[in-house]
Amino acid sequence: MQKFILRNFTLIRTLIAIALGIVISIFLIYVISETPGFSLKSFLIAPLLSKSRLSNIVENATPILFCGIAIAVAFRAKQFNIGAEGALFISAAVGTAFAVSTSMPIFIHIPLVLLVAAGAGAAWGFIPGFMKAKWGASELVASLMMNYVAYFLGLYLINNFFRDKEAGFLVSYRLPESARLAQFLEGTRMHYGVFLALGAALLIYYLMFHTTLGYEIRMTGHNQGFSRFGGIKIFKIIILVQVIEGALAGMGGMTEIMGIHGRFNWQMSPGYGWEGIIVAIIGREHPILIIFASFFLAYIRVGGQSLNLLADVPFELVTVIQAVIIILITAEAFLGRFKYKLTVNEAKREEAGDESLA
């Protein structure tokens, strides 16, 4: 048992962090809600009971998963590019612009629109990537500023050139049917984008752990100086991971537009890029774990929405819990003493075992 805990220590620690986060949220609900039992039910159980909420979880998880694996690639190389949000926004705007101004057969149109969106995102990732690789400018600050630029530029593009003036509010023209991702279950908004996201996660898993490039990315993150000596082209890696990040985040934004809204209707930045950071951390920058993390995060976010709607607790409870979970997961010394004790015990037992054998 001890050996099992020790071997899966990080996973168990992550689960404990999540459990603690949920315990704290239950506590907060009891403090502020007048009907805590009902609130709790709408937070944790309601999302699982109705078909529409279950499908909400899947819809929500899709762009989060795209952004999560996107950010994981960059974080693995220790490039703290937090520009997924901006890449997602600008890609959706550019992709929409492209989709509404072209018409083609569906089997060309869909991949082409996705490609254009991914290209816009890649360009968005390239800028901070290049600035970092070439001049050593902080990609963190640059990518963050680029988020704001993307937001205003995207709105400028849509509001000034592709705005549907017949709609009563600020939205783009409708995408042609040939650029829509079909919804596959009657009565829900679940669309094929979720399979694209899962496919992308598997692809990135393969890239990161079964190719030379993936190895180079991971080594760059571990020890840049050593990697340089080993012949890895750091310049290339630094730019490439941020380009990949932008492209993936861009696909995430575009699939949401193509699958759910059918037109660009964001007046606020949707925030999936930030949730991507959370799932990248919860999933320990591992694409397969990030799949689970995305669905978990989508679950508590849908829970938060139903809490906000049905009960008297604001949605931002979820944001607070997310922060707590991240802190606990990234705190390497959290449960460190416990691990130390386990290791010592295990070593002692092995020693005793050796002696009895001898």
Binding site: W135, M145, F152, N159, I326
Partner: protein, 334 residues
């Protein structure tokens, strides 16, 4: 364009620049002090938000400006201490920890805002206190300069003063010396008996103090209410400003002045017929450009130093038998 130029060269514009740069100077200094100490604090955004919120709330519920100020400052320092605890004790990566703090601040302020006022947008239902404006007797009567410099919020003057305070703190006090020592080489600092963790913790707490003042100005000076996520990236622009200013007080001040001017310009251009989205983009584009230019400059300087060092090595001493100890030392210090 001429009315635009007129308004830019008016004293109103100068006044607006000072107003806009106040919430940038404070957090920029707050970031600079942590960067000097080797614990980059990117949670200024969150610190400002928390202080802005608690300042308004405490002010509204107690009616005391002093208590509001104290509450805002305390919460800022507490945020710094918390980040220090996570990073130094629990070994959290400081970047990820700070991202979590920012997230926490954004969520927590809206959460409490709703619980306390039933509103999730702003504290418009509360009577918010504001820090007083100061009219400087002699200065105000000077024609143009007086219009620009006099009549500001007391915190604007505090911001200008704090750049000077920052200078003395960093260069004239033992703590400042320790902060710089720890940032440059923690191991060396440790070897002469400096408690590295403690110095870094103090730097983070001081950073919280600066961030708090910036936040308090936003909600109790710049405007007189708290609105959700009202910092709008100022904590990040401030980081760019400090980086641009090389973490030094004068440089940081000038960088904040630059960003302040661009921001004020964006407000003034609004009267011209340019789509508002493009105008609002200006400060952020300017930050990216400035960041790149600064990085290029630093890199060039570094290369020059390297080349000079190489030349020096080549010039001095016979190339056959260089003194090994000296060569080693130079390698270590560059």
């Amino acid at each position: 364009m001429s009315p635009l130029l007129d308004s830019i060269f008016s004293s109103d514009f100068g006044f607006a620049v000072l107003r806009v740069m106040t919430p940038l100077i404070f957090p920029a200094l707050g970031f600079a002090i942590t960067d000097l100490a080797g614990v980059v604090n990117i949670s200024l955004e969150g610190m400002m938000l928390m202080s802005a919120f608690f300042g308004v709330i405490v002010g509204a519920f107690t009616g005391s400006l002093l208590l509001a100020l104290l509450a805002g400052i305390l919460i800022g320092i507490a945020m710094g201490a918390a980040l220090g605890y996570f990073h130094l004790k629990l070994k959290t990566d400081i970047i990820l920890g700070a991202i979590a703090m920012n997230m926490f601040a954004s969520g927590f302020t809206i959460f409490l805002l709703y619980v306390l006022t039933g509103d999730k947008g702003s504290t418009s239902s509360l009577k918010s206190l504001v820090f007083p404006e100061v009219h400087i007797p002699l200065l105000r009567s000077i024609p143009v300069l007086g219009d620009i410099l006099s009549g500001h919020n007391v915190l604007t003057y505090a911001a200008l003063l704090s750049a000077i305070v920052f200078f003395f703190l960093i260069f004239k006090t033992p703590l400042g010396l320790r902060i710089r020592a720890v940032g440059q080489n923690p191991d060396a600092a440790r070897s002469v008996g400096i408690n590295v963790d403690r110095v870094q913790l103090y730097a983070l707490m001081l950073s919280g103090l600066f961030g708090a003042l910036g936040g308090l100005y936003l909600s109790m000076g710049y405007v007189s209410w708290f609105a959700r996520d009202m910092t709008a990236g100022r904590g990040w622009i401030a980081i760019a400003a400090a980086t641009l200013g090389g973490n030094m007080p004068l440089g940081t001040f000038l960088a904040a002045l630059l960003f302040g001017s661009v921001n004020a310009l964006a407000i003034y251009i609004a009267s011209v017929n340019i789509p508002s989205e493009l105008i609002q983009m200006i400060p952020y584009v300017a930050t990216v450009l400035a960041l790149a230019l600064y990085a290029i400059r630093v890199q060039k300087r570094r290369q020059k130093i390297k080349e000079e060092a190489l030349e020096e090595e080549y010039d001095s001493g016979p190339p056959d038998n260089p003194p090994p100890a000296a060569a080693k030392q130079r390698g270590g210090s560059s």
